[in-house]
Symmetry: C2
Subunit: 292 residues, 2 copies
């Protein structure tokens, strides 16, 4: 099958902050768009753009050439794909399922092989770039699965992102995303401790930022999140609860692989402390709170 | 005193990778330049530009309006400034001493107060930007000490760097630099673990870099040092032994301040392991070796 705007029917499940922007781009590119939303009001703006609402994931899958999902947790992914009346059961042979949730590499492998046994192609394709990346269609998409399926889906993926890389077989997209989260979290740890130290030493952390933000310490976190830390702005760009989920997945995989990751262990423990303190719905920059 | 190229006599001690570039800029800006070098050959290129060599720090200080130092360890700084025949003893009243070594904040305070009691102005002014920043005169200079002294030295400092920020009283420049090193080291930890994890999971780490280098994980380390890690290029841009010195200083200060810094503790322990393994003269990106 080759994807064609105007002909190919794309189903979309998961109209959160990321998903609603992404679904809009799919529709704007001219694809037929079907959606399933647990909260019907989430679908409303898309229906006004010509999308069609379905009453269940099963009904959506039966009427789609490709189903894209971006939901919360691996448990959501598992029941959506593998549960009774799930996507794999309902998908038409020859169709594609693309999970863009950050989820478990081993679950992604299980989904791909179950799908394959029914003639369905499943890819894991988590993203980085955040809400802004989704809104501006410049996500980085990390894909695991068969090369032919990745190539077939390019016309769809390039509507959503600017960096499309196949990382390997099923699960490899998830592994790449977890590697990303390890780097993100340890960098956040360094930025939080650096600013906390500076404050404790009696410096003006804003002045320290001015001195250090463009050198060897330079990072996305230092540039974009450190100012929020200092302003006490902990509104979520990315939720603590989701980072804890991702780091927990990474640590479980690392343990399975016999890979010792003390930085990952430490930062996961710090973020779990934040969960215990009631910060699960805060943005990840709230880590600075532990250093005030 | 106001600094004037052609009139003001600048003394320079510490003609290593950073210092030799910096001294060259001082001379090129038209200042009278005197140097002291333990290894006379290090001074040779500067003498050809019209610098004058002195046989001891004491002789240099006696003949200078400003002495700039950038040496290795706090123990070097301490003996150079406070030892018998040291800079403070030899400096002319009203002259300036500027230590650009990354060193101890408390030592910087001790130097400043001792200097002040003899009518000499001492500033701590460590830098970031590395050898390239020194070569291209775009260092970030973090200054601790009296405002008037900082203002008086601006015409000299702006010959060496593009970002000049007074961080506070004596020692504050060092504190800011240590904050920088905390962020640098934890970011390096995250990059090393992320790439190590990706490799262990069977991915091509180069492909992972392509996917993650421009998003939320973006950092100087990911952009400039991760490719060296993957190429097995551990040539020093910045020595492990110097980072261990800096992180040790930061941890000692953190302990004095009652500031709990588990990320700093962990990354210092990792770099000490590398020292034990014989990597003290390698570049800091050698941290990746612990994850291969």
């Amino acid at each position: 099958m080759s994807l064609e705007p105007g002909k190919t029917r794309i189903g979309f499940i998961g109209l959160g902050i990321m998903g609603s922007s992404m679904a809009r781009h799919v529709r704007s590119a001219g694809f037929e768009l079907g959606v399933f939303a647990r909260r019907p009001e989430a679908a409303q703006p898309l229906l006004q753009l010509g999308a069609r609402a379905f009453e269940s994931p099963r009904a959506l899958a039966a009427a789609s050439d490709v189903v894209v999902t971006i939901v919360g947790f691996p448990s959501d992914v598992e029941s959506l794909y593998l549960g009774d009346g799930g996507l794999i059961e309902a998908a038409r042979p020859g169709s594609y399922l693309v999970d863009m949730t950050t989820s478990s590499p081993s679950l992604a492998r299980r989904i791909a092989s179950t799908a394959r046994s029914r003639g369905v192609f499943a890819l894991d394709a988590p993203v980085t770039g955040g809400d802004a990346g989704a809104r501006e269609a410049r996500l980085s998409i990390m894909v695991g699965g068969e090369t032919a399926a990745f190539e077939a889906l390019r016309p769809l993926l390039r509507v959503l992102g600017t960096t499309l890389v196949r990382q390997g077989e099923a699960g490899a997209g998830q592994h790449a995303k977890l590697a990303n989260q390890i780097a993100v979290a340890c960098t956040m740890l360094g930025v939080s401790e650096a600013l906390g130290y500076a404050k404790r030493a009696g410096l003006e952390p804003e002045s320290v930022l001015k001195s250090i933000s463009q050198g060897a310490a330079k990072s996305f976190a230092l540039e974009h999140l450190a100012p929020k830390m200092l302003a006490g702005d902990f509104a979520p760009g990315f939720f603590v609860k989701h980072l804890v989920k991702d780091l927990g997945l990474a640590l479980a995989e690392a343990n399975d692989l016999g890979f010792d990751a003390p930085g990952l262990r430490l930062v996961l423990e710090r973020y779990r402390t934040l969960m215990d303190l009631g910060y699960s719905e805060a943005g990840t920059q709230v880590l600075f709170q532990l250093y005030r």
